[in-house]
Amino acid sequence: MSSVLLDARSLVKNFGGLTAVANVSVHFDQNELVGLIGPNGAGKTTLFNLLTGETPVSSGSISLATDRGVQSLNGRSPAQIAQAGISRTFQNIRLFKELTVLDNVRIAMTNHYREGFLTSILRLPKYYRTEREMTAAAQRLLAIFDLTAVADQPAKNLPYGTQRRLEIVRALATKPKLLFLDEPAAGMNPEETADLTRLIRQIQHDFHITVVLIEHDMSLVMDVCERLYVLEHGGLLATGTPAEIQRDPAVIKAYLGGD
């Protein structure tokens, strides 16, 4: 029996007169792989932004099961939510472009290491120890995802698919319980998408975390996801296993049209 990790109830987001997300309730369980699909403009990314604190909710409640019990995420900043255990990637890659691959990963570890101001400016032994530990942890993570060879390159020099992979690695470096992937396969060729499919499974399995992805590539979604939410016009249209969703008449109508 899996327990609920994140529970969002009756989320509403209005942008002026436009309701981008209308009364959506979703929940993600521990170690689950969930897909969020829907036509363009259905409110998928807005829902991600609400859950990660990027945009404040108009109404509704979000709670996350953490080590210190269930916590409400309402009104928390993105940084606080990230510290509580939610990490994400972005639809249009947002790496720290001028910084090295290694630094991109080490930055995401900032909150897991304590290093006082005096320790770092005086370069006390603790500074060297913390730096060594951080670098070693980052190198381990890079090795798992085949990025060791490019560790000292600026992130902007990497090929597109590798940048997407680095963004996922950076998100994992924050040690999340819940990972949101916003269109991870966008702009990838079939071969890269197949690699990504393996990668997502590996993350769910090896890191024991919950992965939620927004994706338009149906072969990927139907392949990896255990459960799907379908959004349309800001509302929840359907939910269920990939097989159920493929048979759902309302979903077929939303995607293919018809009366």
């Binding site: 990027e54 947002r94 790496l95 720290f96 930055i107 900032t110």
Partner: protein, 319 residues
Amino acid sequence: MRFSSRVKSNLAWLGVMVSGFVIIDGLEVARVINPFIENMLVTIGINVILAVGLNLIIGFAGQFSLGHAGFMAIGAYATGIMTQTMSTPLGFFLSMGVGMVLAMVAAVIVGIPTLRLRGDYLAIATMGAAEIIRILINNLKITNGAAGLFNIPALVSWATVYVLMCVTTLVTVNFIHSRGGRAVMAVREDELAAGAMGINTTRWKLAAFVFGAATAAIGGSLHAAYIQTIAPDDFNIMASIAILIIVVLGGVGSITGTFVAAIVLSVLDTVLQNFGTIRMIIYSLALILIMIFKPTGLLGSWEFSFKRVFSRREVTSHE
């Protein structure tokens, strides 16, 4: 025993700093350095301190501040006022400490509302804040208003400036290469992504701003105690821009560049004094030419590193 490149690099920097001191001291004793050249050297030192701090704010934290002279003024006046009654070296360092604390408090007060602004807006807001500081000083009794302070005790020699320049630079560089420095650079690169990675963006931006303000106060204190006279107009917008020019010319995000630019500009300024009125034309022309042919500054974001030199040599010797 073989030393690691880290130990060798630290020793090399220590060597550079000590030999710099010994060379200048030797030239002083040999009377090669006259008061005129010493004045130039001290100006270089103070400019380095000011520009290193501003480079942390602009180049590493990515926050465009035009108010550096305001924080410099706080340090200068703290020293100018306090050393009137405490005319000892200890009194100077005490006044410098007070100046730093006051500048940091001012930076927190200015930073919290303004650091949410970006680019041009932040520049204008910080410029306004510096003007407020200047006008306050202009109208207070304790600062002697527009006339300023003179006969400030000469408690600072070139050696004090040299040592404080080394200390400020070391502390800044060490900060940049720490967890905090990387967090600050993450905010510069992409504030949204930094936040999503759990980095408290407001806190780190403010940290860099307050750090920069403290170094500006050090520069101000040294300026007051070396030049011995200060007036509110020494810390107007042109003073902020003069520091900005050093940062931009040397390369935004390069501490090495800041050193090079501070030296080049001071030497240029001194040499051109023989040219009379066309001095400013040549000076400005030099600035324009550098910006045309090297828009990222003399060194861009390149940084000299002994560690890299040593580890490269190790690699070649293995081959």
